[in-house]
Amino acid sequence: MTKFIFDLDGTVTKQETLPIISKYFGIEAEIDKLTEETVKGNIPFIESFIRRVYILGQLPIDKVSDLLETVDIYQKVGSFILQHKENCIIATGNLECWVDKLAKKVGCCCYCSDGIIEDNKVVKLTRILRKENLVERFKSEGEKVVFIGDGNNDVEAMRLADISIASGLTHMPAKGVLSIADYLVFSEEALCRQLNQLL
């Protein structure tokens, strides 16, 4: 069977979720600076992720989860996922407690990072999802793995996947993604056509 593993932010959702949270809670400056330094390569992705969780962890989880549930999903991509639930998987570095409602809306199995929750806040990050490990796991089970992503944290997973599709639906994919991808698409029509051809 073919397994389609989707990055969440900007690949399935029409917007990146992080800026939505930071804007809502008025912590844009802090998050933007961190994002900028990460994109420039001055802060490694994992370090950036841990610092981001530390900042966002102070926010009330229920509010974050409700907010992310309202994020729009690309309609055609969403329909493909719903039609092929058994083949589709979401892989996101976001904590499960933040994206649980959004993932439910998408409708397929979702793999996230984990943390310890106390008093409606994240007090400790316990596991960071490595998307490449997910790809390896499904490949070892004999599945053909297709990975659809756009960011630097998708690169290793895309390199290992049998087929990788760089998604330019929301923004131009990261340079690292373009350097290893098999395909590059900019519209839902093109992405879904390719996904159907790979079924």
Partner: protein, 210 residues
């Protein structure tokens, strides 16, 4: 148009023999980029797949001015491979029949329209015109019997159409992919291949006669 066909435009190469310091897809032909001329030929085809390599970002940017539903296919080894590899990469996850169209080719729109209406596999060729040509030998009904560097009845220009399952990853040319399946149905078209600067000048004349 049949959904069982994909069109693969191979734009990954360096275009070193042309000497215009740009990938061929972006050269200006009578006010339009070459890739724009090609996209116009395939405006009714749903699955257009453009293989990119050298100057990929520039090709992507140019294509997106006219069409956003193209699937770009990367040939990361464009320096070590030829169009045969790009054809395979472009076709392997596409529809059942793969039409190959070289990024340096201009075909008369009426002839391309006819080619797109043909069912099954075929090879298109033209009158001899280019500086550095590969030739085809044909039989009395125009079917292609062989390819040759030395001589032949017509010039092999492409495009061609073959079932994607027959293609393999190779370091050769498109005609090398076709050779094991000869003889194949052949069709003569009006086409112009742009490999050298003289070819480019001929292409400008060719367009004027349309």
């Amino acid at each position: 148009m049949s959904s069982a066909k994909s069109v693969i435009i191979s734009c990954a190469g360096i275009g070193s023999r042309l000497g215009l310091a740009t990938t061929k897809a972006l050269i200006n032909i009578d006010g339009k980029s070459l890739i724009r001329w090609q996209l116009e030929l395939f405006k009714d085809i749903e699955d257009v797949r453009i293989v990119v390599g050298f100057q990929a970002n520039d090709v992507v940017e140019e294509v997106r001015k006219y069409r956003d539903d193209v699937i770009f296919v990367f040939n990361h080894n464009y320096f070590e491979t030829k169009t045969g590899a790009s054809y395979y990469l472009g076709a392997k996850d596409g529809n059942e029949f793969a039409i190959e169209f070289d990024g340096d080719l201009l075909v008369h729109p009426d002839d391309m329209k006819q080619l797109l209406e043909i069912d099954g596999e075929w090879i298109a060729y033209a009158d001899k015109m280019s500086d550095d040509a590969v030739f085809v030998k044909t039989n009395e009904i125009g079917d292609v019997l062989s390819f040759s560097r030395e001589n032949g009845d017509f010039e092999w220009t492409g495009p061609c159409c073959i079932k994607k399952d027959k293609l393999k990853y190779s370091s050769g040319h498109v005609f090398n992919q076709l050779e094991p399946y000869l003889p194949m149905k052949g069709i003569k078209i009006r086409a112009c291949d742009i490999d050298t600067y003289d070819d480019y000048q001929r292409a400008l004349e060719f367009i004027k006669r349309w």
